[in-house]
């Protein structure tokens, strides 16, 4: 079968009717770009979250009294490490600091810099720090969001904290945390564990919570139950629970976005269907003439399929590429806030490229297939009418 002349005719038709097709191409490109951006962002965040959670310890132990999370006694560290199968037990100190000038909360995290860091993504960064130099005076590492707010009020080198005991702690800015960990670290301040305890008003022999690992997956439930049996006032959160929490959060936002998006897509499909249902006399006549020249119904439908596939596949390729640039190069301005607004500080996130082929296939199926169908039904209806009727 010689398809060259047919394809040539399709391209010719597209070219001669370029004004008519351009608006559909433009709207379709924008819709595909928005949908792709949304999927790229969720993929990227999901991947980022999984990386963060996978780098966390297997369990977090918190003390609960009267239903509230309170500071955990440090001696629980010794108790937990004595259990066979438990490795890498570490205390964690964190809390919120209210930054009055901008009315925002910063998250203070205290770490033992000489201890092996249990959180591996933090470890990678902390390994680059000269610990002696860092501890030579009261220093801190700050997230990009914190830096932005401190800069606004001219705290370029240091910031003075007011701990609960009404004293003053002048802490110098040592460095800014890298952007790629921004989802978690935009509002974060990292400092020495003892300084953090002073600023947060945590007793020396207490910590916020305790992290520990159980390498043997089969042992995890047993060890968890063992610790619970010894301490009734504790809560143990598994890494998987955290992951589920993040997923649930992301799914909630995704669902709202998807519903809004579906409304737009359905409206677009209805407009296209309407357009072809009340196909103008020129289009109708064109089909009638082709039928009178000996074009079969199948060939006319094939013409319209190829014509529209060229439009929508080009808009799909363009839309997906624009989305990639928008999300991974320009960091999705406006759209990112839909997903990243959960921190009390805005995140200047650099999305890590994460392209899921299944998502791209999903866009294709959910967008192009219904649109082609919405075009073909009216075209088929016209094709089966008598050519004289169609040419009228």
């Amino acid at each position: 079968m010689n398809n060259f002349t047919f394809l040539n005719f399709v391209l010719l038709q597209l070219y001669t009717n370029k004004t008519k097709h351009f608006s559909i191409f433009l709207i379709s490109t924008i819709l595909i770009m928005v949908l792709s951006s949304f999927l790229f962002i969720t993929n990227s965040i999901s991947k980022d979250m999984k990386t963060i959670v996978n780098n966390q310890a297997d369990f977090i132990l918190q003390t609960i009294i009267a239903g509230k999370v309170v500071d955990t006694p440090q001696d629980l560290v010794d108790e937990i490490i004595s259990i066979n199968g438990v490795t890498k037990v570490a205390q964690r100190v964190y809390g919120k600091h209210f930054y009055e000038p901008a009315e925002h909360y910063f998250t203070i995290v205290g770490i033992d810099l000489y201890d092996k860091q249990i959180v591996t993504n933090l470890k990678k960064f902390m390994d680059k720090i000269d610990i002696d130099k860092f501890l030579s005076k009261q220093n801190m590492l700050i997230g990009s969001g914190v830096k932005k707010f401190l800069d606004e009020y001219a705290y370029f080198d240091y910031y003075i904290f007011r701990p609960p005991d009404k004293s003053m702690e002048k802490v110098y800015i040592y460095d800014t945390l890298p952007n790629q960990t921004d989802i978690a670290s935009s509002d974060m301040i990292i400092m020495d564990i003892n300084l953090a305890k002073t600023i947060l008003g945590i007793d020396e022999d207490h910590c916020s919570d305790i992290l520990f690992n159980v390498p043997n997956i089969d042992e995890r439930e047993t060890i968890k139950n063992k610790i619970r049996a010894r301490n009734f006032d504790i809560r143990i959160i598994a890494k998987e629970d955290l992951l589920r929490g993040y997923d649930g959060f992301l799914n909630y936002r995704s669902s709202i976005f998807m519903i809004l998006y579906l409304i737009v897509i359905i409206t677009f499909i209805l407009i296209i269907y309407q357009r072809y249902s009340y196909i103008n006399s020129v289009d109708k006549k064109e089909i009638g003439v082709l039928r009178s020249l000996g074009w079969s119904i199948n060939r006319v439908i094939k013409l319209k399929i190829v014509e529209n596939l060229i439009i929508f596949i080009s808009s799909y390729i363009l839309g997906v590429n624009l989305a990639y640039i928008f999300v991974f190069i320009f960091d999705a301005p406006l759209l990112s806030s839909v997903f990243l607004g959960f921190s009390n500080l805005s995140n200047n996130t650099s999305f890590i490229p994460a392209v899921d082929i299944a998502s791209l296939v999903l866009i294709f199926l959910f967008f192009i297939v219904p649109i082609i169908a919405s075009i073909l039904i009216p075209v088929w209806k016209i094709s089966i009418t008598e050519p004289t009727e169609a040419m009228r």
Partner: protein, 224 residues
């Protein structure tokens, strides 16, 4: 001489069993021989165009027999009707029905696409038919820039490019001036010499004076 078109007891009723029912063709019996030129004459609304549309298989009769070039066209399924039309019928419309934004060559190509010829064969066929109709010099021109007479010739070329045996013309001179109408009549004579069977539906009196070897059939109120 072989009978190429046979119509027996042919009826066409529009909007059958409705308040606005219209009996367009009534018991038509007509045999047309190969290489004949038929002038189907009648006033507007007499049923000429309906008869041509049925011959071209654009529409089906309500009842009766239609045999064109050995095929019972009223009973053919769509795929075969299209093939039949492609191979046997060349239709020239009153309003030309050309693609105004395309060139002369591209317009003629629309008839060749279903044949799935290679580009070389298409090019040759287009050149031949343009030479025959004497419009080769307009090959690359956009149809919208042509005069009425030139458009008519492009429409003829498009109808002829697949070398059909039967040419059907619906009011072919209605949109033409006197000189161009005479040119059209010359082309028809030329086509008759090539052995084509031609049916022209017209109410133009110019055909009365034309020196044509043709059979005139009058149609009135759907009857001949």
């Amino acid at each position: 001489m072989i009978t190429i078109i046979k119509m027996e007891n042919l009826n066409k009723i529009f909007n059958e069993n409705k308040a606005n029912q219209f009996h367009a063709l009534k018991d038509i019996n007509l045999h047309i021989k190969k290489n004949e030129v038929i002038l189907l004459k009648g006033v507007s609304g007499s049923g000429k165009s309906t008869l041509l549309s049925i011959l071209a298989s654009f529409m089906k009769p309500t009842n009766g027999l239609v045999e064109v070039n050995g095929e019972f066209v009223a009973k053919l399924p769509d795929k075969h009707i299209s093939e039949f039309r492609l191979n046997n019928i060349g239709f020239i419309f009153q309003s030309f029905n050309l693609f105004e934004q395309l060139t002369v060559e591209q317009n003629i190509m629309t008839s060749l696409i279903p044949k799935e010829y290679t580009q070389d064969i298409c090019d040759k066929k287009i050149d031949d038919v343009l030479k025959l109709i004497n419009i080769s010099h307009k090959k690359g021109q956009t149809v919208s820039n042509l005069s009425g007479g030139e458009k008519q010739r492009v429409a003829i070329a498009r109808a002829l490019v697949n070398e059909p045996d039967i040419i059907l013309c619906d009011e072919p001179t209605a949109a033409l001036d006197y000189d161009n109408s005479l040119i059209f009549i010359d082309i028809i004579k030329q086509l008759q010499d090539l052995g084509k069977t031609i049916v022209i539906a017209t109410h133009d009196t110019i055909f009365n004076d034309a020196d044509m070897n043709c059979r005139v059939i009058d149609i009135k109120n759907g009857m001949i």
